[in-house]
Symmetry: C2
Subunit: 467 residues, 2 copies
Amino acid sequence: MSTAALPDAFLRALSDGFPADFLTREPGELAEYGRDWTKVHTPAPTAVAFPRTTDEVARLMALCHAHRVAVVPSGGRTGLAAGAVAARGELVLSLQRMNHMGPVDVLGGTVRVQAGAVTEAVHQHCAPYGLTWPVDFASKGSSHVGGNIATNAGGVKVIRYGLTRQWVLGLQVVTARGEVLELNGALEKNNTGMDLRQLFIGSEGTLGVITEATLKLTRLPGKQEVFLFAVPDVAAVLKLFRDARQAPLSISAYEFFTDKCLARVQRHRKLRSPFEAPSGCYVLLEAEAADAAAVEGWLGSLFERGLVTDGTQAQGVSQATELWALRESISESLSATGMPHKNDIALPIAALEAFCGELDAFFQARYPDWEICLFGHIGDGNLHVNVMKPEGMDKAEFLAHTKPADHDIFALVRKHGGSISAEHGIGLLKKDYLSYTRTPAELELLRAIKRTMDPENLLNPGKILDP
Amino acid sequence: MSTAALPDAFLRALSDGFPADFLTREPGELAEYGRDWTKVHTPAPTAVAFPRTTDEVARLMALCHAHRVAVVPSGGRTGLAAGAVAARGELVLSLQRMNHMGPVDVLGGTVRVQAGAVTEAVHQHCAPYGLTWPVDFASKGSSHVGGNIATNAGGVKVIRYGLTRQWVLGLQVVTARGEVLELNGALEKNNTGMDLRQLFIGSEGTLGVITEATLKLTRLPGKQEVFLFAVPDVAAVLKLFRDARQAPLSISAYEFFTDKCLARVQRHRKLRSPFEAPSGCYVLLEAEAADAAAVEGWLGSLFERGLVTDGTQAQGVSQATELWALRESISESLSATGMPHKNDIALPIAALEAFCGELDAFFQARYPDWEICLFGHIGDGNLHVNVMKPEGMDKAEFLAHTKPADHDIFALVRKHGGSISAEHGIGLLKKDYLSYTRTPAELELLRAIKRTMDPENLLNPGKILDP
């Protein structure tokens, strides 16, 4: 579909019924609003619309429905699965002008915002009241609330707060036909038949356009203690996890990374490890600790019981930031020191040790020259598996290998009851692999519901699965 | 539909393919398994089936589908909305023999159970490992996990742990056609398209039969402090709530009741109030308090700041039990001392004060002789509104009044953005009122999804809504 393909009657209706700055077809903006953080598919939208109100979204969708114009709902475009890429001549519906935030309801612990509100702006809006929306990750400075909800975003605090799904009370959604649904209001409890909110959360814009949300807030956390531990291997990471969950702590983050990740962070960022001797794996633990003496006792016992080979507790904010930097610089350092091929997988926690062993054996046997950099939110069963292109290998040759390697990795994921996408979603990037995680019966049901809600396949067509 | 209406071919297939004790048509058992805790509809099932395995459920559903036999999935039958009542000659599918509980996965914090496992049995199964499934309410001694999930059960700990929905990792569901869906396994994170689990949670058996679940567990809570406070009115209850949420406490329960409730508890159970002077409202607060000195300071400040008129903190378990008895005896005491007409509604917390004022004004104006007993999980916005039949009034006359009164109450609920069923569900009992909470567009979508998943309307037909 090219620009010319937008029906004249549709364009006339837009220019008659909407503000002059509602639509753009300027090439630079098409390229900008047609992409997300992935670089696999070429953005090729036909136009970009910038509504300011839900009424404008509803009228636009009704027109798109009448004229069979496909739509890509678009937020902060920080996605990692090409869920917001307009690669097929769609109209991009950008929510960025819809960034109003209502007053914070301190008694109810809620705030109503438009979908285009930036995640971090919501945090700043609520903080003066001692409240926060605990959806938190690296891209929070540009990601939108609507996108967070549409992708059921994860992040580093899931172990304490759960996924975005848990922090959405009410949703306003515009359907494929341009109807406005107001779902659940500001209610914590509402058992009146199927919870339609849940359909839209995590459906990547394929079932409706999220226009507003009532967010559930929680108290800002108390003082956090940050620890870094050195342990020999993944088995020890999990043994320590089991112990930490019974410790006198309220865990906010339990992140791990291997020595290979640390080496690249040190190379790229010139950061120093707090430990003299290298170790196979590292664990970053962040927790609230009400009883300092009890925590000290627990820490001492970790060494006595051989659960860690080394460990340090941050003294003050700047040391805590330094320890976090070791973990948070990994992604950037991998890209700066080489070419990573990324996967974001989840396993049942109980299966992690066996999975990591088999993954290691698989790479040893099939791709012994590849360096594997493992890190992630291991407390949620979420691993980021980064395969580094060998130094001397041609890029095309490497990519020719990663596709079959992905199939093998995902077969292993399936064998252990895992997921091929823990938090990034499916979008265009992973849809060819969906059957490793979803059974044929599930895929059939997903398609049936999509057909029920969007029979003309106008909402983010081709994302997640084809009709 | 009478017993005779079950097709011969269907009965032959059952007796050929299933154990001899699979089906009963004994009148006593029909009456027993056809009912729940409501008494409005007469139970009239045609037969009761007792599968032991998912395979039996799947084969039974396939046969029911082939022969167009309607099915009522049935758990512990403790529901309060007639969601499990078989009033139309359905076949009851009892899950009670499917009560196996797998080993507790201590590392992952999960347990896999069959749907017929009793809620309290799950608690007992997990407690030795320091873990619990935090779904907790009065009927836990007989309710089933499958029913808890199918109704998204609430209870007294929702303010801390959320609804049942948050504590289900994996679901195994048998569809109307007898297909087995395995949804989400034991995964915390799995962003691979629409989360089909969520469709079944809270859908009261109208979309599928839940046969197994992987439950998410949490640490057993630490020592709980129990407080009872006297305050003049609902406004003060909410003011105290706002304060308590900022206090050095981790709240597990914030329950309220009025003086009228307490008076009936005292009459029926001969319990004593810990306070000398009566008060308009009472608040029961249960919380974990890590810092005893900080809590003491907060308590003192409540009196200084005029937030409570009286208050007591339980010293030890037996006093805590006594304070809880005042709250937990209310339902029983209302029934023992009169005839209550019950509603279970939810409001946005911010709307509670205005709503309660208007509710009071409504009853004063229209039914000045009626005694209204209000209590509930006010920290979740959940009120149990009990209207007591006036002493001298005939039962039939009272019931003739409650129906129009319900319409007026629900209109008020709607006006304030509330729900006509906070935690009890809709079933048969509330379906005539569903449009007070759900818009026409929502009802249409609910029906469309039901038709997609159960086109012959065989799964719990007539519950929640008609096709």
